[in-house]
Symmetry: C2
Subunit: 307 residues, 2 copies
């Protein structure tokens, strides 16, 4: 990689330095109908929203301020014009709320499934870039918001149940934690960070692998919403499987040096209503362990294949 590549492939987004001191963060993600969403229960505006959200979440996980986006749409010939309008409406509404400008793109017709690819760019200063690879033993592990809601919402939608609005909404129109990423980066409080679009188990694994460390998670500390708990209680589903294995929670998972706990309180105050919950600790032994009421066990590998 040339010297102006600050962060190359393998992180949430790439970081380049076109001019000295001016870092540009680039990320691209593709949603494919039938793989990443089902048009039977995901309305067009939610498709557009989610396609941008997954990219903004990647920028948030780098500590970047999003700026511009490019959109590539591959549309099945059968798609109605109103659906196209809905996709654009959903994308532009989320873009507007984060002051992101759509600067270009293209639309292609295809015989295949709907494909929506978004590239987003943003900026971050060099000292503030949040990476996956810099967690150190002894750091505390935190997560923003709640985990498991989006996966529970998806399961309800898939089952054709009348979904609970709060859970379905968390799946359909997730809020990328752009502000949390900016505040964490601005306070230089996080030693590593990743977004949870691929699930909590995957996020823990990625940070541990990239940082050459292990993580011990206290399952009793996980921030699980009442709605998510209730639904699992009623439906008899495996709550921890949803929470660890379910994706689509666009929350941030990050680590903080234990000496920075005070500094983190300033972050928590700045973020107001968004919960910031300690869920574990980084260990020197390179194992991923979950502790709970029944003792300790390894983080099951199956969790990352739930999706």
């Amino acid at each position: 990689m040339p010297p102006w590549v600050v962060v190359g492939p393998g992180d949430d987004a790439a970081v380049i330095e076109p001019e000295r001191g001016a870092l540009e963060v680039l990320t691209t993600d593709t949603l494919v109908e039938g793989i990443h969403f089902d048009r039977r229960f995901v309305p067009p505006d939610a498709i557009g929203h989610r396609a941008l959200a997954v990219n903004l979440s990647d920028l948030a996980a780098m500590g970047a301020r999003p700026r511009a986006a490019l959109l590539s749409l591959v549309l099945p010939g059968t798609l109605e014009l109103s659906a196209l309008d809905g996709i654009l409406d959903g994308l532009l509404a989320l873009a507007g709320s984060h002051r992101v400008t759509l600067v270009g793109g293209n639309i292609t017709r295809s015989p295949g499934p709907l494909v929506i690819d978004v590239t987003a760019t943003g900026s971050v200063s060099r000292r503030r870039v949040l990476r996956r690879s810099s967690a150190r033993p002894g750091d505390l592990v935190y997560v923003t918001g709640h985990v498991g809601d989006a996966a529970a919402g998806l399961r309800q939608l898939q089952a054709g149940d009348a979904p609970e609005a709060v859970l379905a909404e968390r799946y359909l129109r997730p809020q990328p934690r752009v502000r949390a990423g900016l505040v964490l980066a601005g306070n230089r409080v996080a030693s590593s960070c990743i977004d949870l679009s691929d699930g909590l188990a995957d996020g823990l694994r990625q940070i541990a692998r990239a940082s050459n460390v292990g993580i011990k998670v206290d399952s009793s500390a996980l921030p699980i919403s009442g709605a998510c708990r209730d639904w699992h209680h009623r439906s008899g589903g495996d709550l921890l499987e949803t929470v660890f294995g379910g994706g689509d929670d666009y929350e941030l998972l990050f680590t903080v040096k234990s000496a920075y706990r005070k500094r983190l309180r300033a972050v928590t105050r700045q973020l107001g209503d968004l919960p910031i919950t300690p869920i574990g600790v980084v260990t020197k032994e390179r194992d991923l362990v979950v502790s709970g009421a029944n003792g300790m066990r390894a983080l099951p590998t199956g969790f990352e294949h739930f999706r």
Copy 2:
């Protein structure tokens, strides 16, 4: 558009100014199997090459120096691993020859056709940006290289004829005119510029529309290769239809103030073997006219739908 958007949607690429004086050029393009290429006669490496080439050609048409690319691949479940390797090889070979670094991307499996989406970024200084919208009456119209070769090559490949290597190669592995774009921008000699990925007729129309001018093209001046002429002679095809309507020639179409003809000679010298051919003149009357042995006629609208 916010003030840092120097060129928004509607040009070959977007130009943003993240920091004062440092312009970033962004472009994204999608190739869809069955729409933009046919895997029966386009080998994997050519698919990868063309997916990057179409984006580098957009950057060239802005006068930008390419720097980084992102790749999104949507692969049919049936695609062999060797084909994926071939696509990456073709893309990386072209990237290497233009010092472009692949900084990120993602791969998705899908039940649909192969979709390859590339985003490319580059840089240009503000005074050097080549736009479509600044051609003025009296400017001379030029084109790089030869026009029609790629379309002739595609027709041969489609017909299952043993294709002539030079024509087929121009379709399969077109060379984006990155250096020509840089030299034109560096000498500040072009008043407008566009790439010919969508064909000569489309390029003329786009410049005329964006600049509020007309263009008169001298069809006897068009740089048509001997191989292209020979094949049309033998096959009885309509040469001008191929030349005006055929796409996939990654050449640059640009306009030059007539007072800058001397300055253009310096550009021509710098570009060595690449022909730079005057093919017409920009007019105040907003018509697109082709003059030839049989007099003048309007540029047929059908040409832009050839593809």
